[in-house]
């Protein structure tokens, strides 16, 4: 490097530093916490949220921030474990954030929410679907950009009785909070609709082989299988079922309504039904978000990316509209203001559930999830 360029570079760096210093003197950044599983076995559900938050914040900051203040992220990992979630929450609170995006898993969210509630922090989760989080009224500070499990369980049950006209079904789940909750609700609604649930069982997530339980399904002579859980197990199940020549209707939840499922299950995914957030991929904002992700991180975004994107946008919008980072004003703004996000034109109801964005049933056709009207 020539000496002159060197001098220039040094000068540029110094002036940048000074400038950013000046800016921070005039307007301290608004800090937003992002908490969830970013390492460990569930990292694949948490990392997309960090990416989403980073992208939104980058956009906002490029436009000069909100209310003249830049936005800064405080990212903390909880590995989806409740005891780590409380530490992550305490850390986020100590960092003086004004609101939190997270957590990812319902269990960790429950553990952390107590701390956020006592510290008066708005918390928006992109993925915690456990119904009592909003319905119990215990957590007035909690919002989510995903519909609770009972909404989609009801939809799945109605779909399999009214549209598919199934008479006898098997319901499987992954024993987890989310999967089992969904499965239990589907069982309940399906039985109310007069469908016989011949089999209701949990299987071990991560096991290499499910052929025993697949045999059991075959033996039960059902005409449909409901799966409550995530896509890795779902793809093994459909694969092993079709390998054994069983062509049953397979209905699942939004843990499966993920393109990774189609990628992994390949030809076996054909015909699988899944309930999931209403398709917004034709939404120009969603297209932009996904494009940005590809540009920034070099890959397709993962699970709950758009939900997290919308959560961050809704939060920043509320802060902008409230013109303040005061807890009560943010809550009021979240519940009254509508905002355009990749999920559509959304707001939140009094309990904290998302408005303007619901669930639909999808089916895999030619390697793509197609919304069934």
């Amino acid at each position: 490097m020539k000496r002159r360029t060197m001098v220039l570079v040094v000068f540029a760096t110094v002036s940048l530093l000074v400038l950013s210093g000046v800016q921070s003197v005039f307007a301290a950044p608004i800090k937003i916490g992002v908490a969830g599983a970013f390492t460990g076995d569930l990292a694949s559900y948490g990392l997309p949220t960090v990416n989403a938050a980073k992208l939104v914040v980058k956009d906002i900051n490029a436009k000069g921030g909100i209310n003249g203040q830049l936005v800064e992220l405080v990212i903390e990992d909880d590995q989806c474990k409740p005891e780590l979630a409380t530490n992550a929450a305490a850390k986020v609170v100590s960092a003086k954030v004004v609101a939190v995006i997270g957590h990812i898993c319902s269990g960790a969210t429950k553990a952390a929410l107590g701390i956020y509630k006592d510290s008066k922090l708005v918390t928006i989760s992109p993925s915690a679907t456990n119904p009592p989080l909003t319905q119990s009224g215990e957590y007035p500070n909690f919002f989510r950009t995903i519909a609770p499990d009972d909404a989609q369980a009801k939809l799945a049950a109605t779909f399999l009785t009214k549209t598919l006209k199934l008479k006898k079904i098997a319901v499987l789940h992954d024993k987890g909070d989310y999967g089992k909750g969904f499965a239990e609700l589907v069982k309940q609604y399906a039985e109310e609709n007069g469908v016989q649930v011949a089999l209701f069982e949990g299987i071990n997530p991560g096991a290499p082989d499910y052929s025993a339980v697949v045999n059991k399904i075959g033996n039960a002579k059902v005409d449909g299988v409901v799966w409550g859980g995530y896509h890795p197990e779902a793809s093994k199940l459909v694969q092993q079922m079709k390998d054994k020549g069983m062509n049953l209707a397979f209905i699942s939840d939004d843990g499966v309504k993920d393109n990774t499922f189609i990628e992994v299950a390949g030809k076996y995914a054909e015909g699988v039904y899944a309930t999931g957030p209403t398709d917004t991929s034709s939404n120009p904002l969603a297209i932009k978000a996904i494009e940005d992700h590809k540009k920034e991180f070099g890959s397709e975004p993962g699970a709950f990316f758009l939900n997290a994107y919308a959560a961050t946008q809704a939060l920043l919008n509320a802060i902008a509209k409230a013109k303040s980072t005061d807890y009560n004003k943010i809550v009021a703004a979240l519940q009254s203001e509508y905002v355009d996000t990749p999920l559509g034109h959304i707001s939140f109801d009094k309990r904290g559930d998302i408005v303007g964005f619901g669930f639909s049933v999808f089916q895999v056709k030619n390697g793509k999830y197609v919304e069934l009207k």
């Binding site: 970013f38 990212i75 409740p82 530490n87 100590s94 269990g107 215990e138 987890g176 089992k180 390949g266």
Partner: protein, 422 residues
Amino acid sequence: MKLRSILADIGKSLATAVWFMVLLFPLMVMKVNVARGVAQIQFRWNLLPLVGVGAFVLSYAWRIALEWNERRGANKSEGMSSRIRAAGAAYLARPAVRTSSLLVLLAFVIAFPFLFGMYHTNVMITAFIYVILGLGLNIVVGLGGLLNLGYAAFFGVGAYTYGLIWKYIGPSFVAAGMDPGWLFWISLPLAGIIATLFGILLSLPVLRLRGDYLAIITLAFGEIFRMVMQNSGDLTGGATGISLIPRPWFFGQKLPPTKAATYIYFIAIVLVIITIFVVRRIEDSRVGRALEAMREDEVACEAMGIDLVKNKLITFALGAFWAGIAGVLMAAQTTYINPDSFTLWESIIILMAVVIGGTGSIPGVIGGAILLKLLPEYFRALAQYRMLIYGIAMILVIIFKPDGLIPRKRKQYTFERKEATK
């Protein structure tokens, strides 16, 4: 001569660098992505020189460190550093110094929550919970020499005792106008007792087994416990767990989170001190000596007239008791429990705390537990590299200190002839 050995070292490191460049090539340089069933490879050539240079430098440092480690092991009694250390130890052993340094430590520990705020207090509570767990497991592994890979189950028994008491008795307790925080104080001794009973119950069938077979059985029990908690949803809340568990009673006041953390912090300290005290007494007692004999050699021990069955039972029971206590504390701190907190991985972490600290050494285990819980917290700055660095740190510690950070000192009983006072 000197130059030649340096050249040879450089040569070896170069060879290592090449080896790692080849070894890590597919995973580091080629990044795979599967789309439509077809794997696509993206080459990241810029990482290759990084691997090479990194491996070269690290292997050089590694060799020096290993040599230094060996030399240190060979002449332990000589050298400046060991003499300084011996002098330091002698200085510390003086009663006045000991008491005053203990007092300073105590003052620091008491001042901690007021100095560092809620986050650090919370982290320290977790660390203290692990200190209790580590000391409890140390009775089993360090004293009794029985490898237990299902220790988290007893931890879970404790947490669930509190959780279930809250779930079933809590509502009527509140309805009667009582403060639910009292349940914590009721659960604390109860959880200890129930965990002890579980310890006895589970150890009964496995008394015949030895070594790693015992380890795998404890692993099995641990997993079965978790599965039962997970599957009996109506009774235990299943995978959903039990939430909103009350914080401990504090003169009928509802504390804000910062103060509640401080309060639990002090409860944890008191429990830690009690644990240390009791565990030390156990070590020095007749039972403790019998357990140590059992660890050294079961057959010889039996020949000396020590009842192995009874001793194994005692080991498991004592170990389980502290896990139960720690469980209640954990439930009170997180206010939410579910079966995922009591996995095999949890048992492994507790075992790591014991071994890395120094199996059988009380100060070692305390240090190990605190280190193991604090490192990942303070490694948060490393973001996604955290667990990688954590694993590397564990390997390094155990290779350079295979007996643990503060190894156990063998007990020496010196016979002092009492002077006739008359």
